[in-house]
Symmetry: C2
């Protein structure tokens, strides 16, 4: 059972957190992407923190969890904070393969996304 855990920063503004949860829901409903489980969690300032997100995936039967930082820049949250949380949590789930990806800002698809948004201008 393969899980994707989208990790955003988290905001005091509930709607911002909700947008990330909706992203996970939309991906779940879209299907056809090889993930049996898609969850979202937050680094801080929200109810569902990264350990909660990992636990949610584990409880749903995940044997592999891909942790994806939903961040644009390679700041300390991406380079230090999230890796530290993941390193600390791995020993608690010895039977689950937990892998951390690049942050989304590093994706080559970002160029395409920018141009798509710019072309469908408001």
């Amino acid at each position: 059972m393969k899980a994707l855990l989208i990790v955003a920063h988290g905001s005091r503004r509930e709607q911002s957190n909700q947008e990330v949860l909706e992203l996970a829901n939309t991906l779940t409903q879209q299907g056809n992407h090889g993930f049996d489980i898609i969850e979202a969690a937050f680094l801080e300032l929200a109810d569902t923190l990264i350990p909660d997100g990992i636990e949610n995936c584990a409880r749903r039967g995940a044997t592999e969890i891909i942790v994806l930082p939903y961040f644009l820049n390679s700041g300390k949250h991406v380079t230090r904070d999230i890796p530290e949380v993941i390193t600390a949590i791995k020993p608690l789930y010895p039977d689950i393969n937990i892998l951390l990806t690049q942050h989304i800002g590093a994706s080559p698809v970002m160029l395409e996304l920018i141009l798509e948004t710019a072309t469908n201008k408001a």
Copy 2:
């Protein structure tokens, strides 16, 4: 002359700002996207603010400037701060068509970007 102005939040960490400038450079070099000019600017915490970015585009001969918020969430920066700056600046450039797009987090391509990043896991 069509310009794209990528507007990021701005960071005290110079490398984060640099990443946005590099994104603009990469798009410029890539070409084949219909933009004659691509610039980056920041809402705050950086040297090149939005008025500077608009002025840079104007000085390079832009007749249309597409302003693209490089933000993931629809927080107050996206819904209030950036539109206010753009509204205030438009009368200063009566001969330039200045248009504000959605923020990148609202793009349907974001789903594809997430899956691409998750699949090419570290």
